[in-house]
């Protein structure tokens, strides 16, 4: 009965979303208070119904109710409880349920916290949100229904892909979806603003925190996914420029641009049309990502053509949402007037440059992701667009972005002082050149790009510190005064500095791990020792171990450096009998300078030998640290609820006093 109640609640939510989409929209058009007011209870009712439905599905997973087809196909009675629960969203139908659940969560959050929004804006925003929900609920109910039953119920399920039986899976999709779907609310705001033909002060005030929240989730979600790929796939890599990864990276790039342009709207009442445009782009890329991942188009364009129901549905949804919103933008966009003026060299100008570079970057990723698909669909044969392409186009776009990034915070709003800003960054520039030269000296035979990467990383980190130092007048005012200023720095400013610092650390990690990774693949017999980047790996053999729903071969390596034992690594190769598929569990010892990483493969020969893959991955932990720091920065900024007003500078050349002071975030 619980299953069927969940099914009914889902269908009722579908009908409610239809009401929530139409009635408040008519109400806003006619200015009818009661009809507009319906949006809020409807959004909350929709959330309650979808949550009920999701809970019913989860209940079926937890109790192993194999009369539900979705459970029978994706779960197994012997699976640990944690993976029974995370298994709910580890399949197509369940992940779409998670999608709409998060969509409804954001909708009801606007309904609950949006009291200070003008009623017509709120009604229209929630109505647009309801239309998105309507599209996806129809998709679920008609093509991907998780509540389909089978009679008679099988005695056990088919189990979950062992690769997905991992704590990383429990967290990665929810975070990613919170990010993807979080952009929906900004999209709904943007469409509502276009329908109204105006961007209110309240609109500007609202969009930024929502974008920021979505950005935090998306950053964490991509980071978790990359981390999971790193330790689970066992190739020592953490990013593959794989279309599924690109699908989440494109909205991140656009969302980052949106985050920065929304600051300008909020503080300076300009760049409105551009921000609305970015909001549409960011969510469109989320939808596109969902389409790419969910329609099966990536496995093969032809696989998509043989079972087109799902793919075609999302494609139509995509065309309606993206085409409709861009058409609306072309029609109403020009009416969004701006009041703030600025010159190219100014904080606004710097943020606009950031926007242009980030949108170019996401366009490039889009091209690299879709081009092979188009070519394949036109029967132009298979091409693979991989890391060489992305490195070749990405680095030239990112280099000026990072170079300008450290300068931006030193520019004042409206008109800035570039020579003055650069003068303040002399120290950072010196450090960054020193780092580049040091890199060149230490690794003269390494790739040239490593020199550039390390230079940029130090530039950002040093820039963040210099920025903070000049903000508190460090060494130029008494220490007490500096401390007083430090305490007064608004949290949003902390957030910016911390996030930029995290980016610098991330770049260092990316550079180090791609430039100096050491890899050694061989057959090892027990007692044999292999030297990898100064670490001696002694293989001590492998033995069989059992797990709750798998059996494994566990190898044992003793790693030492200069005769001192550093770590004992126990990588596993697991076989899950239900699916008959193996997974590798890399053993990783993290040190400050890098990861010592070991993987055990197939047995080879008769002497107890095994294929082993041993790596030293320099600076990889810095990637995760950098992402974590960026997320912390975002949280700092989000916790700052004050309204920030950009203080315009009226003087021609703001050199008389301290320019950095005016340049506060």
């Amino acid at each position: 009965m619980i299953v069927e109640i969940g099914h009914f609640a889902l269908i009722l939510a579908l009908v409610v979303s239809l009401v929530q989409g139409t009635v408040p929209l008519i109400g806003a058009h006619r200015n009818d208070a009661a009809w507009m007011a319906l949006a809020r209870p409807a959004a909350i009712a929709q959330f309650v119904l979808i949550a009920l439905s999701f809970a019913a599905l989860t209940h079926a997973y937890v109790t192993s109710d194999f009369s539900v087809l979705n459970v029978a196909n994706n779960s197994h009675s012997a699976k640990p409880m944690m993976y029974k629960i995370s298994g709910v969203w580890a399949n197509h139908e369940g992940s779409m349920m998670l999608w709409v659940l998060i969509l409804a969560t954001f909708g009801s959050a606007v309904a609950i916290f949006g009291q200070n929004l003008p009623p017509s804006l709120r009604a229209r925003t929630l109505a647009i949100q309801a239309f998105i929900a309507l599209g996806f609920l129809l998709f679920i109910v008609l093509t991907s229904n998780p509540f389909e039953r089978i009679m008679p119920a099988p005695v056990d399920g088919r189990g979950l892909n062992p690769l997905l039986q991992d704590p990383g899976l429990a967290l990665h999709p929810p975070f990613l979806y919170l990010g993807y779907v979080g952009l929906s609310i900004v999209f709904s705001f943007a469409i509502a603003a276009l329908i109204e033909g105006r961007v209110d002060a309240a609109w500007a005030r609202w969009v930024r925190p929502w974008t920021l929240a979505a950005w935090i989730f998306l950053t964490a979600g991509i980071g978790l996914g990359s981390w999971w790929a790193y330790y689970e796939l066992g190739w020592g890599g953490w990013w593959y420029w794989d279309p599924v990864e690109n699908a989440s990276f494109m909205p991140w790039l656009a969302g980052t641009a949106l985050l920065h342009s929304s600051i300008v709207v909020e503080k300076r009442d300009t760049l409105k049309g551009w921000t609305v445009f970015l909001a549409i782009v960011a969510f469109s890329l989320s939808l596109l990502g969902t389409f790419l991942v969910r329609s099966g188009v990536l496995t093969s364009v032809h696989a998509f053509a043989t079972d087109p129901a799902r793919g075609v549905f999302i494609l139509v949804l995509l065309l309606v949402a993206i085409g409709g919103s861009f058409a609306l933008f072309a029609w109403r966009g020009p009416s969004l007037s701006a009041t703030g003026l600025f010159v190219p060299v100014s904080r606004e100008g710097a943020l606009l440059l950031n926007n242009l570079l980030l949108t170019t970057a996401s366009a490039v990723v889009l091209l690299g992701t879709l081009y092979p698909l188009f070519l394949d669909a036109m029967n132009g044969g298979k091409v693979s667009v991989g890391p060489p392409f992305f490195n070749a186009v990405f680095i030239p776009i990112m280099t000026p972005l990072f170079a300008a990034l450290a300068v931006g915070p030193f520019l004042a709003w409206k008109r800035g002082d570039l020579p003055g800003a650069l003068a303040r960054l002399k120290l950072a520039l010196g450090l960054s050149i020193a780092a580049a030269l040091a890199t060149w000296y230490v690794a003269a035979d390494g790739p040239v790009l490593a020199v550039l990467g390390m230079g940029l990383a130090v530039w950002l980190v040093a820039g963040a510190f210099v920025e903070m130092a000049s903000r508190i007048h460090l060494f130029r005012a008494p220490v007490v005064e500096s401390l007083r200023r430090l305490r007064r720095i608004p949290r949003a400013t902390w957030g910016m500095t911390i996030a930029h610092l995290g980016l610098g650390i991330l770049i260092a990690g990316v550079t180090g791990s791609s430039a100096w990774k050491v890899e050694s693949i061989q057959t090892m017999t027990p007692g044999q020792t292999i030297d990898v980047s100064g670490y001696e790996f002694r293989f001590e053999g492998a033995s069989g171990v059992g797990g709750p729903n798998y059996t494994a071969t566990r190898g044992r390596f003793v790693v030492s450096r200069d005769g001192t034992r550093v770590a004992v690594l126990k990588p596993e190769k697991r076989v899950y009998p239900v699916q008959g598929r193996p997974t590798t569990e890399a053993a990783i010892k993290t040190t400050f300078l890098g990861d010592i990483y070991a993987v055990i493969g197939e047995p080879e020969g008769n002497a107890g030998g095994y294929v082993t893959r041993l790596y030293f991955n320099p600076l990889v932990p810095w990637i995760w640290a950098g992402i974590l720091i960026m997320v912390v920065g975002g949280l700092f900024s989000l916790s700052d609820r004050r309204l920030r007003v950009g203080a315009p500078s009226r003087r021609e050349a703001p050199r008389r006093k301290d320019p950095a002071q005016k340049a506060r975030a």
Binding site: E4, H7, V19, N31, P119, R484, L643
Partner: protein, 373 residues
């Protein structure tokens, strides 16, 4: 089922009631649009004051900020007096209420009745121990029968038919390697008969997880001379060529396979897909590969043989299951008090779709239970 509809009605009534209540409640007129903007600007002004107090802003900057905000405030205040009150005309209002009261219940129940299964209860595994046991029993009995057969064959290893049966039974249990071994024993006794050989080679492929090992390729090569019409020969030899980097040779085999297959052969779709994928990956123009000139003429009987061979396995399996069920039924007639036995029999019939017999067996199970008490 009644409980389900009661819950569904509560959800429906709650939703519709909430909507109607919100729509019919009278509201005080909303603030003018401009007021919302002015409220934000007022907040911003007080924020400037706070920043000034904390020393984050210099006084001239604060003044500039204030002037800018006040300018926006004045602009917003211009629109303050514009009355924005409106209402949906009463006719539309009534129609809207009626529509919501009608459409929400009717649409949701109609869609649910199309897609849902209101009369199917939840079946959590904990409540299905009986089924689980029966299934395990079934597997157990199958395994028992197989073990018995194997033991017999150890005693009488010259029984070719027995080895084949064992091989096919092991095949349904997905014990590919064991199945291949048993088949081979039978084949050696019958003098390498092509249909059985093809089955044996296919088992080798399955045991190797879809990879065509050398041994299997040798067997396919052997039978291609005797029974060239078997589609498996071309299919797997093509895969074998592809494994060894000869995509062109692989496609040639599959093109030939299509040429000798009847129009409606069930394997054509997957063969075509393989050709397309392999050709695309190796950058081969499929049109350039023509069927070989010396292909065996499509022979009716040969293909019939093949079809029989393909269908042999499930039939054999059914036969085996049937004999097991008959054995169980016969035993139960002798020991009618074995309630668990009757339950197992009922389950077995249910799986076979023989609902009448299942019901009958179930009734016997209940009766047996009563007798025991």
């Amino acid at each position: 089922m009644i409980a389900f509809w009661a819950a569904a009605l509560i959800l429906l009534a709650g939703t519709v009631g909430l909507f109607l209540w919100v729509l019919m409640r009278s509201r005080k007129p909303a603030m003018a649009r401009a007021e919302y903007d002015i409220a934000v600007f007022r907040d911003q002004l007080s924020e400037v004051e706070r920043d000034l107090e904390r020393g984050v802003l210099a006084s001239d900057q604060a003044e500039a900020a204030r002037i800018e905000i006040k300018r926006r405030m004045l602009a917003a205040a211009d629109g303050r007096d514009v009355s924005e009150e409106g209402a949906v005309p009463p006719g539309l209002r009534g129609a809207g209420l009626a529509l919501i009261a009608m459409i929400v219940p009717v649409a949701s129940i109609a869609i649910y009745l199309m897609l849902g299964s209101p009369d199917v209860p939840d079946q959590p595994l904990a409540a299905r121990q009986g089924d689980v046991q029966t299934a395990q029993q079934g597997e157990h009995e199958m395994a028992g029968a197989v073990a018995k057969l194997a033991a017999q064959l150890e005693k009488d290893p010259s029984n070719a038919e027995g080895w084949m049966l064992l091989g096919r039974s092991l095949r349904t249990m997905e014990r590919w390697a064991d199945a291949a071994d048993a088949m081979l024993r039978g084949i050696e006794l019958t003098g390498r008969e092509p249909v059985a050989l093809a089955e044996y080679a296919e088992l080798l492929v399955m045991a190797a997880d879809g990879v065509v090992p050398d041994a299997a390729a040798d067997v396919f090569g052997e039978i291609s001379a005797v029974a060239p019409g078997d589609p498996r020969i071309h299919y797997y030899l093509g895969i074998y060529r592809d494994q060894h980097g000869d995509a062109r040779g692989a496609v040639q085999y599959w093109v030939d396979l299509i040429a000798v297959s009847p129009e409606d052969a069930p394997w054509l779709t997957s063969v075509r897909e393989r050709i397309r994928a392999t050709a695309a990956a190796a950058d081969i123009d499929v049109a350039s590969i023509k069927p070989s000139p010396d292909l065996p003429k499509p022979r009716g009987p040969s293909k019939e043989d093949v079809k029989d061979a393909a269908e042999m396995t499930p039939e054999e399996r059914d036969e085996m299951i049937n004999s097991m069920i008959e054995g169980l039924a016969a035993r139960l007639e002798d020991e009618p008090d074995d309630a668990d036995g009757w339950r197992r029999l009922a389950q077995a019939y249910r799986v076979q779709g023989k609902i009448d017999k299942a019901a009958e067996a179930m009734a016997r199970a209940v009766a047996a239970e009563k007798n025991q008490k």
